[in-house]
Amino acid sequence: MNAPGQISARFRGRRGNFPVDLEFRAPARGVTALFGPSGCGKTTLLRCIAGLQRLEEGYFALGGAVWQDGRRFLPPHKRPVGYVFQEASLFSHLSVRRNLQYGQRRAAKGGADQPIRFDDVIDLLGLAPMMERAPATLSGGERQRVAMGRALLSNPGVLLMDEPLAALDQFSKNEILPYLARIRDRLPLPILYVSHDITEVERLADHLILLRAGRVSAAGPLEVLQADPTLAIARLPQAGVALPARTIGYDPAYGLTTLAVAGGEIILANDLQPAGAEHRIRIAAADVSLSRQPVPGSTILNVLPGRIMGAEPQEEFMMLVVIGLGEDGAGARIMARITRRSWDHLQLAPGQPVFAQVKSVSLTLPTGGADTA
């Protein structure tokens, strides 16, 4: 029996010549990103969950409801999923309105209670101006918004998104991301989000599942996996951590906001009032350097005391160091990519107190509520 509030999945079999053995558990809330290189089985996993594909062995449960096990196999149209494909795949013979109603009507007929209301989705995704248009007349970004609305209106128990931004240009991506964040923040709906773009994942995900060659290589909360120097994502040039942060002060004379993160404070050149507002910041490993003493007379705003929690050699001459913030190192973890030479010369070692000098902190996407307050 699956625990309430949890998603459990296991799919085993072959996809063409590749063996697939995908097993994971994730919380049935928030955004869980399925991340990995192309061909690792991300899309297969999503299709199996929707019942569009069937491998030799399969198990899936959402909360207490088992959709598939050794004996049962719910056909796709009986599974309460919302599926957003990489291409919007709108029905070209129906108007935007009729596309949106397609799943809604059938879900209502099936007796599903409808906590997601039509007008709310139109508002949430800004669809009102395009309701009577034909899909062929919409831009790529608009089409994908309609596709998301259509999936939401079928009142799913879980929203499956298969690289919904991958087919879009950068401009359309930036247009869509705030809408995705709004879905995440406003609707009580777990989202499984497939992506091979780590920046998307950092902006949206709470929970991360790493896939590699048909297997799950790691799973856990985003900030835990990001700060694990042994994982493949730590080797990406843009490796870093995304951390939740809360506004605690603003200095209007210099335009600087002070944010609290677990175990420390971060100053950011941005107006992020009011106090108490929740944000997500990103600190790249390449932007952090370490010193054993506080460096006097520096222009760097953010110098955070912390403790070395671990380190992993990278390539030939680099070290990826994990720092726990706070005197005791118990706060949030960030990473620093430094040279092997510095590591040796400063005689750094796990457990040692250090000062992390953070050259740059970026704000990931504003949360969904920010632009409509």
Partner: protein, 225 residues
């Protein structure tokens, strides 16, 4: 104009309309199966359907004559309502037309269903549409251009068939004397003005059908973007 001329025209229209309706009813599930099934032997079925494209009409007509005759399945079928044979009857002509016009309807339908692809049907499935629902509300409307082409080609080809009709229908006024046979008959008996009338009519009809279909397809193509 004498009834003698209008008789074959109406008979031809009746035959073509009835055949086209039957072809759409039978051809749709067949084309759907050919487009979607994984079975290896489906191409053998597709070949059978396509045979009238290459077989001489006399060959097809010969086998139909045997099949529809008193000792074939057609004779047995006719026996159900007290007849002796389906050859040289209107019903026999309908059966023949359905067979020889089959590829002209099934092929465009199959192409249209294949062009729809898996994705719209998968989308519909994730939006709670059961298989029949998906077929009716997604596959059929998206395949509409194929239906238009299939219906027009099936109708036009039935109107124009000559060899098979002559083999299995003969030349019975009001029963099997269709347009193409009537023209042949008028030419044989040197009634040139009547042959001109019917042949010219067919020429105009064919031109209008093909032009109309082309324009309609273009318009649908534009609307779909």
């Amino acid at each position: 104009m004498p009834a003698e001329i209008w008789g074959p025209v109406f008979l031809t229209l009746r035959l073509a309309t009835l055949s086209t309706v039957i072809l759409l009813v039978l051809g749709t599930p067949l084309a759907w199966w050919l487009a979607r099934a994984q079975a290896r032997w489906k191409e053998a079925v597709a070949t059978l359907v396509a045979l009238p494209l290459v077989l001489p009409p006399t060959v097809l007509g010969f086998y139909l004559l045997i099949g529809l005759g008193p000792s074939g399945p057609g004779g047995w079928l006719a026996g159900l309502w007290g007849g002796r044979s389906l050859a040289f009857t209107f019903e026999g002509l309908v059966i023949g037309s359905v067979l020889y016009s089959m590829p002209f309807v099934v092929q465009p339908l199959r192409n249209a269903f294949e062009a729809v692809g898996d994705r719209p049907l998968e989308v519909a499935a994730t939006l709670r549409a059961a298989p029949l629902d998906r077929f009716l509300t997604v596959a059929l409307p998206l395949a509409r251009p194929g239906f238009l082409t299939g219906a027009v080609l099936g109708f036009a080809h039935t109107v124009g068939e000559f060899g098979v009709v002559l083999m299995i229908g003969g030349n019975i006024p009001g029963e099997t004397r269709v347009l193409s046979v009537a023209i042949y008959d008028y030419v044989e008996t040197l009634q040139w003005p009547r042959a001109h009338l019917l042949a010219g009519g067919m020429l105009v009809f064919s031109f209008v059908v093909i032009l109309g279909m082309t324009l309609l397809e273009k318009r649908i193509g534009r609307a779909r973007g």
